[in-house]
């Protein structure tokens, strides 16, 4: 009986600009089996209606800092999926 089998975590997903338009929402609370990484959020979003417009490896941020797909999630994290940046 592995200790992590029945544990889960919930993260707040935030979308912006073209991604928010494509998926039709800008925030979503997502519950995933623990442990999970940023990449698991992408996978789940891409399985949603309109989710195929997300690239397989979009720019992501975890708790307001850029994060790669392997970065592990902690319950309560804010995970942002960022369209190509166009500031300046």
């Amino acid at each position: 009986m592995p200790a992590v089998a029945d544990s889960s975590l919930t993260v707040r997903v935030v979308l912006f600009a073209s991604y928010a338009e494509g998926l039709g929402f800008d925030t979503l609370d997502l519950t995933l089996a623990s442990p999970a990484s940023v990449g698991a959020v992408i996978e789940r979003l891409r399985s949603l209606p309109g989710g195929q417009q997300l690239p397989p490896k979009p720019l992501c941020a975890r708790n307001l800092a850029h994060a790669g797909p392997d970065e592990p999630l902690v319950d309560g994290d804010e995970i942002a999926i960022l369209p190509p940046l166009a500031g300046g």
Binding site: A17, S18, H66, A80, L85, A86, G87
Partner: protein, 141 residues
């Protein structure tokens, strides 16, 4: 003072924030909304931003510049609807040495473009509206 603002960027107040009697060189960069992009006439731009991360990332960039060079840096980025010619971003770096002021100013604007979560939707003269994707083709500003 927050890095992100929906009010016109006041360069004078950024200068005032970094000037001091021992810093004799002040380099700055201002990015303005241009009237064309990819060969198409642009009427105006809407900027949107991931506000809390803009604050966090701009804070990191300024801290990096101020630890790498002996400078004081002020930075401001606009959000909201901008007309042609309005300032979208402004960086001011002050130092005792102009080389350091230039280097820090250049570093900050490059990192802002690379790292700060801001998006812009361009309204073209032909009536179309597009989210700008700098990765889709070569683009300068």
């Amino acid at each position: 003072m927050p890095y992100l603002t929906d009010q016109p960027v006041d360069l004078g107040s950024l200068f005032a924030a970094v000037q001091s009697p021992e810093r004799g060189g002040v380099a700055s960069f201002v990015g303005l909304v241009r009237d064309h992009h990819g060969g198409r006439a642009v009427l105006r731009l809407d900027y949107s931003a991931y506000g809390p991360m803009v604050e966090a990332e701009c804070g990191r960039i300024v801290a990096e510049a101020e630890s790498r060079w002996p400078v004081a840096v002020a930075l401001r980025h606009r959000t909201g609807s901008l007309a042609i010619g309005e300032a979208a971003v402004a960086v001011v770096a002050a130092s005792a040495h102009r080389e350091d002021a230039f280097a820090a100013c250049r570093y900050v604007i490059e990192e802002v473009k690379r790292r700060v979560p801001v998006w812009k939707r361009e309204h073209y003269a032909d009536g179309t509206v597009t989210w700008v994707d700098p990765t889709a083709k070569l683009q300068h500003a």
